[in-house]
């Protein structure tokens, strides 16, 4: 299948992207005022103690040399040791991946499950009450900040109705899903709003397209016209929009995991930044970047699968 040849070539393009990201994260972390040694030892530390710590983590070397070590470690599949947790950064990230992954996946699935019926309802009743209602709801969904929505959901569903746990992350699968329900709903409410609007517009355009006319002209009932012809043809723009938003979403876990106290990568990143744990910040940033690149790659795959005309 020559259309899928890009699966082999595209990863080569990731290398320069990831290299660029490594430079940016390396520099940004070091632009934050403060010093990891001071954070660990407190304000009354002696200069020799600070110098010792700095030497231990290689922080006394020139920036160029530090970056070179960082790259060398990356090439060997290592990200150094966490200053705060005193363990290997990669292992540390490994313990935090699951909650974040579950959170993102659940949010995306929930968003799609909300967006597709909403968009279909609106598009098929364009201009009528149902359409207006969907448009108002989706505008509200975009308008409300997610952290505020999250807090409101906690107050109503967890504190008052006791339907879901307030925060944290569980041990069993059911427990984990119960804990992840509110945070992913928080994300889904705003993400699905964006998707709904995009999908609604493409569906409306497709409903009056020649494809739909031809299907009606051969006697297909509106239900078939819509789900078999209009819907698949409206997907491509929304797939790309979803990919871009998952990129944002991965960064957004920083906020959501903090609000719901989920022990994932976002929370790890926040702690690492506050304690100037350079190695961890670099590691998590690289992991987020890889995930975003991967998501976009998967979106390209989905686009090619959804539309046989597209070649990449």
């Amino acid at each position: 299948m020559h259309r899928y040849r890009f699966v082999l070539t595209r990863p080569l393009q990731f290398l320069p992207v990831l290299f660029g990201i490594s430079v940016i994260t390396f520099i940004l972390v070091r632009l934050i005022p403060g010093d990891p040694a001071r954070v660990i030892l407190g304000t009354r530390a002696t200069p020799t103690a600070i110098a010792n710590i700095r030497a231990q983590y290689g922080l006394d070397e020139p920036l160029i040399a530090q970056y070179f070590y960082f790259l060398r470690n990356l090439a060997q599949g290592q990200m150094g040791r966490s200053i705060l947790y005193k363990i290997d950064v990669l292992r540390l990230i490994g313990t935090r991946v699951e909650p974040t992954l579950v959170l993102v996946l659940a949010s995306v699935v929930l968003s799609v499950l909300i967006a597709v019926p909403m968009a279909a309802l609106a598009a098929r009743n364009q201009g009528k009450a149902a359409d207006q209602a969907v448009r108002i709801v989706s505008t509200l969904g975009i308008g409300f900040p997610p952290f505020w929505l999250g807090l409101m959901l906690i107050i109503v569903l967890s504190v008052q109705l006791s339907l879901f746990p307030v925060s944290g992350y569980g041990n069993t699968l059911a427990d984990k899903l119960a804990h992840i329900a509110l945070p992913s709903l928080t994300i889904a409410l705003s993400l699905s709003a964006v998707l709904t609007r995009s999908l609604r517009v493409s569906m409306i355009a497709m409903l009056s397209s020649d494809i739909a006319t031809a299907a009606r002209a051969r006697g297909m009932p509106e239900r078939i016209v819509f789900w078999r012809h209009v819907f698949p043809n409206s997907l491509v723009p929304t797939i790309n929009l979803l990919a871009v938003n998952i990129g944002w979403l991965i960064g957004g876990t920083v906020v959501v995991e903090s609000v719901f106290a989920i022990p994932g990568m976002g929370q790890l990143l926040v702690r690492a930044i506050f304690s100037r744990d350079y190695m961890v910040v670099q590691g998590v940033a690289m992991a987020f970047a890889c995930a975003t690149v991967l998501v976009n790659f998967l979106a390209d795959l989905a686009t090619v699968a959804a539309d046989p005309r597209i070649k990449l």
Partner: protein, 570 residues
Amino acid sequence: MSSTLLSVRDLSVSVRSEAAPRLLLDRVSLDLGRGEILGLVGESGSGKSLFCRSLVRLLPSRALVIDSGTVLLEGQDLLQASEADMLAVRGGRIGMIFQNPTSHLDPVMRVGDQIAEGIRFHQGLGKAAAREAALEILAQVGFPDPKRQYLSYPHEFSGGMRQRAMIGVALSCQPDILIADEPTTALDVTIQAQILRLLTEIRDRTRLSIILITHDLGVVAQTCDRIAVMRGGRVVEENTKRALLAAPGHAYTKALIASHPSIPARLSPVTTTEAKAASPLRPLLEVDDLHVSFPSGAGLFSGQPRVFNALNGVSLRVMPGETVGIVGESGSGKSTLARAILGLNPIASGHVAFEGSNLATQRNATLAKLRTDAAMVFQDPYNALNPRMTVGETLAEVLRVQNKVQPAQIKARIDELLDLVGLDRDFATRKPRSMSGGQCQRAGIARALAVDPKLIIADECVAALDVTIQAQIVDLFRDLQRKMNLTLLFIAHDLAIVRNLCERVVVMHHGKIVEEGRSADVFAMPSHAYTAALISAIPDIDPDRPLHALPLRRADSLRGMSSLSLQPST
């Protein structure tokens, strides 16, 4: 004609708007017999398509309403039928095919599945049985390898094969009536001939009734039994084919017949002997062994990137004051040649020289010269004009950039240009939106003339226009040519128009010039088989000069399928 299958009486459709409702169809009455082909002729906006859409109650906009009338299909009034009954009528009794199969076929669904869809719905067959029936239909409409093409997507086909697929989709529901809305307008003549033959063959085999909507009287003359002429939402004339073509009653029908560019030209091409005598012997444009190629699918593992050779060693000389027509089917390299001459396509090898300066060796100097001394007129007159600018602004922009006219004289020059192309001077203040296709094309020509060019390249500039407007634009070119001693490179797929306008013609096929010579000679006695095939495929307005769908050998496999066509092997 035998028993009447469909009987339409006093069908009126109007558009609801804020102002007074406007009548789009005005008491249209028509009958269609079983096995009959009825030609519906008229200009764009005459209501042909709307009439057919109204029959199955699929109006293109919600603002349109059917006011009155009856549509009797074997006694059942379709205008009174329930929506559920209409589902069975649409496709099952009355099928439809459209002008643009590319946009009407579902691009993300396999062709075979689109055909099977109708079979399963209308005949209630299971998956496997529907698949078998679909394969049969694919073979019927001329696909050489149905099993393979069942799995293809529409974009993998050529235009002709897509239209065959569209016909297959319509036939899958086994309708009694097929409405064909400009089914061949977007196709090359040779492919058009094949599709028209396919339609008549299906009619002969299955007694299908066909309503054929077209603007081309030649198509009607070749295929239909009866003709109805529509104008402004009314049927102005209706008669059997021969009677109507031999003795048109209505003035509009007469005008339509008169403007049909049939091959035995009533208008002889302009003889520019006097222009030739006055001109120097040096050619204005010289193309020498021109090659243009495009990369097609870079091979990752196959090593060499593959290239598609759009032009394969084309040589051409155009003398000042000459009118040269370039004809050929889509994909033959006509437009590539035009773009290469203007320096818009990179040249792989060979030379283009304009007034002696060479595009390959003195690129910048030649480009500067081309930009001031050559101009192009485009196919789609509407989209080639900036919708935000008035005609006057568009022309003024060119005049200012070219710097040939004093700023103070721009206004006067615009008036002059508008006079030249036959537009009222107050068109300077109008925007393309409020102009017709013909008026837009006149404005486009005025823009080309604004640079006071020595060479005009017109790329399919009448293809999108109605026949009567086509004739006007061709007359305009003839006029300008005579008045201004213009050199015109006229690219068209319509041989008849080229025959009428151009003194010399160049026939292109697969990126090569296969024949070239005086129009009269080439058309009277084509020496190349391809030219002969092209000419014989033109539907003539005389029904007694039958259409030949000569099979053409083609190199590439998919497009080649179209030439295998439906040879009457039985």
